[in-house]
Symmetry: C2
Subunit: 546 residues, 2 copies
């Protein structure tokens, strides 16, 4: 039997586009005499559809589009994901389902049993977990069809008391097919492979795995769909960060051929780079925008953001604005200009000093006699945001936010100032990771001026300011933040790891008391296992370690 | 047996304060010879603790505080809610539990079976649902102890396939006790009573119900704890929006006395008013802030917000800033001044024209020849935000956001402009509800100038601008929004209800395409069954009805 895997870039709620691209793949599979084609989890509506699932009309659209797809499923069988109604009066009213279609008809529906409800996932918000699993009998093959998380309850610590594949294996399937929506993070690709290989080792039949590709706001799906033979060897990994289409013969999946697939190893930082470029590209494409703008300071964060934006959108669609104040150094302006020229990106220089003086003047009756403080620093950052947003409004740019994760964590940024933007590109990279990315970008050629990379980080909001005046050294800070945010280590654990108690307490307090700022910041492209945003939910008025 | 219900205002993660107030209530109950005292769900850590639950240290703190409480539980039994470890290796590692304590020891733990995971609730993110329910045997009484949602799976449409009270009733309990964290919305108080009464009608034993009171950022808990006798009559409702403490004798709960409790009826709008005042008060108290500031325009939204802030914080802690531009009408300034004087709130008048001219000047080389448009309107709103935030930074005010739900829904507001603020007071009230609230506030005395209420709404960002130039009449708009947002009606259903097709399509498109703006706005005090914020989760790059 020949099985095609279609790894596609869906758009949430864009039924017309999704169905067209599903039908196009079906045609391609028919032309190559495939017996079966497999699409991803919730392919028809895109993932994650979130509260659109609460609208009857949305579910109806899913069903109408399934009918359209079924109408083309002659001479080929189709597996495709969509939400379906739970006919039982008890329980939530939807299932997360896979439809098995052949001869133009929906032959069976297979519902997801294990519903991820951690980090960025909210599936139990919408779906009833299924407790029935039946195999598909097709052309003499028995297929065990599961949906994403269904295969993840394996190993030592199991999140669910039940594993649907344990039921399915009792029905003696020949092959496992898993349709998924598994977003990228820099640990996920390896973790995913290990989990899937463990399933093959446990159940001893081959596995075909189809993932989404493409970004949906903060979530970036890397694709990297897999075919694993019955010896638990990966025989193929589909492209990462691109659509792909591959055909597999079941004979190959079951052959004793142990020749291992030659994987193209890419580094962690390269995969982050590729993820971010796709994240920017899809954010603009799916919202119907073309042009990005950002404030270019001469520092490392805006430099890296500009490079990624130019790669994603083309340098002709990106505009850099330099907004120097009286505290900006000449080297910062020079570095910024050099970068814009290197990238062939259009730029403008708009000094903010006059606007700043105007505010100082209107505020002077109230602030008289009071020392300059963070107020005046924030004022500069907010004036820059006002100018940048005026360009957005006038010309249809989307402002890219250039904050990094270290700043976002400790609140080292100005709300409604440098924390503005439609999308945060680097908000899931600690400062030390931004440097790593800068080095990666410069590996063949000095795109980012060397000086932007080596100079001590500064917000340049007062004379001779350095980040290190207010914050611990990023080498230490980032390690503490990583342990606290990604690894959920508490103060005692951190101190036991050898971090200085005073720095630990100060850092955790900063993180917790700045929740209110992060609440109002743009969506952040997620590349780590724990990004700020929908995957990390904390109380604003909480009083804990603060 | 004498049972005390302690309805307290907890603070998330503030173990010291929560435990002190629990111990204080235990003392009070002991002094009045109570046999048992009951506290709310997750009382020890506050509700909702959200991802704090992922920290081992946080769970340890809960247990340490439980030990402290147990140490005082002599001559009295205590029921109190907290998260506890799931000893099973399979399933999530926590339970949402109630501890039954007597003789200084934890006698038993009772775990929640039904985990709400809709709207603002995320409990399945953290907790394993329990499938074991055992009654408590205490002083000859058999107590069926459940936690909040456990009693809500009753009636026609059941969200869960299992009801723990069905198991418990088989063990012949004498009384039901339910500890809860049930936040206010204007439908919730009646709904809650109906659900609880239905439980008594079904299980035919009395019920004591203890709720939280107080606000945790957007969620406002009204308290309104209940005692319902075996005839399904409410014999007492504890105070709404205040802490309370009441003692009930089981004899009274079981007596055939059908004299019905005299409820103090308060109107929907009065309950909303009281909820918002508590919401503001607790936001400031729990964050450790005292003083609020807002931009006072002379319009209805900022007027109502100012009144509520003055009631919550005292007029001496509230500052109004008038920020007139060349487009502000004299009547707006007069109305604003009149209100500030009525409330005895300090104010300043800071014209923004010079700041505006300064930006026009710095932007003129780039905008030359282009017509004035929404850019210049947004510019004014953003300049106001810059001034208000400068006051916040300099003097420690928290900026109150004055946007209403109609504006937030259709994106009729400026991001980083009038959409700024630490807390949105009216963001869950449609414009027509803001008027209702204004009338309620003025019922005894004209606090809000009549003119602010009767004049046509205008943003005053260009000459003679009226909201109605860009939006449907609020009387119609709000009805469509309510059906779409609260009732999840789709376009077909709305058109079938008689709304104009073009207006429906335009409105839904505005709502869906402005998701990106709402993503970055302050937390909104929730008073409806479906508020923007954590309870309504939609994709930004979605392409549906847009």
């Amino acid at each position: 039997m020949k099985i095609a895997l279609a790894q596609l870039n869906y758009h949430i709620g864009n039924f017309e586009k999704n169905t067209a691209s599903i039908l196009n793949s079906i045609k391609k599979a028919k032309n190559t005499a495939c017996d079966l084609i497999v699409f991803a989890e919730l392919a028809i509506c895109g993932y994650p559809p979130r509260d659109f699932l609460e609208f009857t009309d949305f579910i109806e659209q899913c069903h109408l589009n399934l009918q359209q797809i079924a109408a083309e499923a002659f001479d080929i069988a189709v597996i495709v994901g969509l939400p379906t109604h739970n006919p039982d009066k008890k329980g939530k009213n939807l299932f997360n389902s896979a439809a098995f279609i052949c001869n133009g008809k929906i032959q069976s529906l297979h519902h997801k049993s294990l519903l991820p409800n951690y980090d960025v996932f909210d599936e139990y918000r919408y779906f009833e977990p299924s407790r029935n699993s039946n195999i598909i009998d097709f052309k003499g093959y028995k297929i065990a069809l599961t949906i994403c998380e269904d295969l993840w309850n394996i190993g030592e610590e199991q999140l669910y008391p039940y594993s649907p594949m344990d039921d399915l294996i009792a029905q003696h399937p020949d092959i496992m097919i898993n349709i998924a929506a598994s977003p990228f993070n820099y640990e996920q690709v390896d973790k995913r492979k290990a989990v899937l290989i463990n399933n093959v080792l446990k159940y001893k039949i081959p596995l075909l795995y189809v993932n989404h590709v493409g970004a949906q706001t903060e979530l970036i799906f890397d694709g990297s769909s897999l075919a694993i033979n019955s010896n638990a060897n990966i025989i193929c990994q589909l492209k990462s960060f691109e659509e792909d289409f591959r055909i597999f013969d079941t004979d190959v999946l079951n052959s004793k051929d142990n020749s291992i697939f030659q994987e193209i190893e890419i580094s962690k930082i390269e995969s982050i780079h590729n993820a971010l470029v796709l994240g920017i590209k899809d954010y603009f494409a799916k919202l119907g925008f073309k042009k990005a703008i950002l404030g270019l300071s001469g520092g490392i964060d805006s430099a890296v953001t500009l490079v990624l934006a130019a790669k994603a959108l083309g340098p002709e669609n990106v505009k850099a604005i330099l907004l120097p104040s009286q505290f900006s150094s000449q080297h910062s302006i020079d570095d910024a200009l050099k970068l814009a020229e290197n990238l062939k990106v259009a730029y403008e220089i708009i000094p903010i000093e006059e606007d700043y003086n105007s505010f100082e003047n209107s505020l002077s009756p109230y602030f008289k006699g009071l020392p300059h403080d963070v107020t005046e620093e924030n004022l500069q950052a907010r004036i820059r945001a006002v100018v940048l947003m005026a360009f957005c409004n006038k010309f249809g740019y989307v402002l890219l936010n250039t904050s990094n994760k270290s700043e976002a964590a400790v609140g080292y940024g100005t709300l409604y100032g440098d924390m503005c933007g439609g999308l945060s590109v680097l908000g899931d990279l600690y400062k030390t990771e931004v440097y790593e990315l800068a080095h990666f970008i410069n590996k063949d050629k000095e795109l980012i001026p060397h000086n932007s990379i080596i100079k001590p980080p500064s917000a340049e909001l007062r004379p001779n300011q350095k980040d290190i005046d207010s914050l611990p050294d990023y080498e230490i800070l980032d390690k503490i933040l990583y342990q606290y945010i990604e690894k959920r280590k508490g103060p005692k654990e951190l101190i036991n790891m050898g971090f200085d108690e005073a720095i630990v307490k100060k850092t955790l307090k900063l993180v917790n008391t700045n929740e209110y700022k992060r609440y109002q910041t743009p969506p952040i492209l997620r590349i780590s296992p724990k990004a700020f945003g929908m995957g990390r939910r904390l109380p604003i008025v909480g009083k804990y370690l603060s």
